[in-house]
């Protein structure tokens, strides 16, 4: 019997060409990075937990861009730790969106 690697464990699989163009960093991506730093500094999250939560995303979510994976994983960790629920975060997001569309 062969045990298949999980989605993130891709060493040795066919990979295709490397895309090495520069990407502009979006402001929200910088905010997410700052938030991760802040969560770590306050002892609310370790990088190892973030990595684990990213690995635990569904294969579909794992295909998403880098910082979207981070956001999805952070949200899972907040729920796991009882810090914030997905509903609370999404509620705040629509509130802000409405305000900006004002």
């Amino acid at each position: 019997m062969t045990v298949e690697p999980r989605t993130h464990d891709m060493g040795g699989q066919p990979a295709g060409p490397i895309e090495n163009s520069e990407h502009a960093t979006e402001p929200w991506e910088k905010l997410i990075t700052a938030m991760v730093g802040s969560l770590r500094e306050r002892g609310l999250m370790t990088v190892d937990e973030l990595r684990r939560a990213i690995e635990d995303l569904s294969p579909e979510d794992y295909e998403k861009p880098y910082f979207e994976r981070w956001s999805a994983a952070i949200l899972d960790l907040w729920e796991e730790k009882g810090l914030l629920t997905r509903a609370e975060v999404e509620g705040k997001m629509s509130e802000i969106k409405k305000r900006l569309e004002g």
Binding site: V3, P5, D9, G11, G12, T46, D48, E49, R51, E55
Partner: protein
């Protein structure tokens, strides 16, 4: 104190514990050589679940021959790949 010293032959465990593991599938069961001892570190496999990862465990940089890792490897004979692996994944080979 580290169990292995530079140059020791070591084999990576073939186990499939669920959850966050720091040893990729492709290297499990392969034999390599300790390239260097890196010091002791908290176990990231426990840090990943909110534990403190203590006691710290010895970490080694282990060098494998590419041709030992991939059965169809057709690159240069002397090609190697290095992985940093904690002691609990290694046994003497």
């Amino acid at each position: 104190m580290p169990t292995f010293k530079d140059g020791d032959r070591v084999k990576v465990a073939v186990t499939y514990p669920p959850g966050h593991r720091r040893v990729p599938m492709y290297i499990r069961g392969k034999t390599g050589e300790v390239e260097r001892y890196c010091g002791t570190f908290a176990n990231p496999e426990e840090l990943a679940y909110g534990f403190d990862g203590k006691p710290e465990r010895p970490l080694y940089r282990v060098r494998f021959m590419q041709k030992d890792v991939w059965e169809d490897y057709d690159g240069p004979e002397g090609d190697t790949v290095d992985l940093e692996i904690q002691e609990h994944w290694l046994s003497p080979a």
